[in-house]
Amino acid sequence: MRLLSLYAVCAYAFLHLPLLVLTVFSFNQSRFTQWEGFSLRWYTQALADSALREATVNSLLIGGAATLLATALGTLCAYGLWKKKAPRLTGMLYLSLMTPEIVTGVALLAFYQWLFHFLNLHLGMMTVILAHVSFCLAYVVIVVMARLRTMDATLEEAALDLGANEFEAFYLVTLPQLLPAIVSAALLAFTISFDDFVITSMVAGVDSETLPMVMYATARRGVSPVLNAVSTIIVVGLGLLILVSERLQTKT
């Protein structure tokens, strides 16, 4: 176990090294990679940049909405599949996992074009949110399904025997047990949605630029420490979110 712990420390270091570097250099006075003194200028610049602010808000909105939808629908779907197999739906879920992002992006763009031919709509936040739901769904189903498989099915039967109807059995017995898995799935979905670039850039409209899109555009011209500052803010913010959610979970 000690060896394992040592390895784990190295592994975590590997995972977090770029993050650390990012954070350290977000406080760098200089634009370039030589350390030239501590400074908060990139943070002030980041917070003052309206495009960046707007993109972050967009990303959070899209991530939040897509996560809610995907988690809710995905949980229901996993439960339904657990009860009884549905090969065609499972097949579609598999396929959606396997499609390269660029294909999903182009396909969705093409689909939206055809749709908008008949409706007077445009690419925008809704199109991005729906796109995100469609590719997050499979991940949620996998995570929840993994938990369902380890669950004791007899508990539900017991509830049914005791007079509950099927929906109550699900809601009062199974769902509470699934809660940790649902939270994990939600976090996973949010991460995937927040970080998505390829699909989003294809279906985003004029008003729905997300943070990865803005970062990519900026980074194409040479990395600016402003991006470091933004990343650090995000990690700290979301890290706090995790901590809070952990606290809430252990309380229940």
């Binding site: 995972l15 570097v21 339904g80 993994a146």
Partner: protein, 277 residues
Amino acid sequence: MKRLRLFFLAPSAVILFALFLIPLLIVAMYSVLSRGAYGGVTPPFTAENYVRIFDPLYLKILWRSFWVAGLSTLICLILGFPLALFISRAGARRGLCLQLVMLPFWTSFLIRTYAWMFLLRDTGLINTALLATGLLRDPLPLLYNDFAVILGLVYGFLPFMVLPLYTNLEKLDPALLEAAADLGARPLTALARVTLPLCRPGILAGSILVFIPCLGAYLTPDLMGGGKSIMIGTLVQNQFTTARDWPFGAALSLFLMALTLGLLYLASKRSSGEDLL
């Protein structure tokens, strides 16, 4: 019961049908059309795009992608298994340990990639440290080559390996390991002969979740590889952007998906039957 089941499955089915299946059919239609003069699609229908895939140039790119993705998956497995093992044995802190694995992934992956590039460059942190200790005279070429690409891919997809492995490990009955110990097995032996075989579903799930995105990856190989070599993901991406050869891009994508479907099918045959879904 039927009605309830409908309630549970219908929304997902509708979403997937409308936002996944139909778009995919549109792409399939593109793949049998011809390329417009400057891009886009136009009649006549043709199978030429699929025939073109079997050109040695593209097969070579496909082969290289498989090789890179396979190696990355293997390394992810080797690096990820001990980590998953550690987390599953972390007791009360396992939730936190798991979250720590995911935390880096909430920065934009692009920024993480650029952070790696910054670390690996000739004047980057790693080389500067190595030169300072006097171990080297010239900087190591750590960036813009296959090593960097695989590092980038492994780094990017490690959580996708760790999570399923951990889920699998967590479900294992500790009594089994106790029994093995009682029967005289040393920890390492118990690991190899009891734990690992029981982890096959997790290993399979993790490998699939890593291999497939690696195969279709394009930003990481392009950035870390310096654009010097080309993987299938980049090739597809190019068709939809610079080359504007949508039909060929569509054909390539569908071909790639068919290949991965085939692999999945083979993998499911060899597994003990427990699938991801």
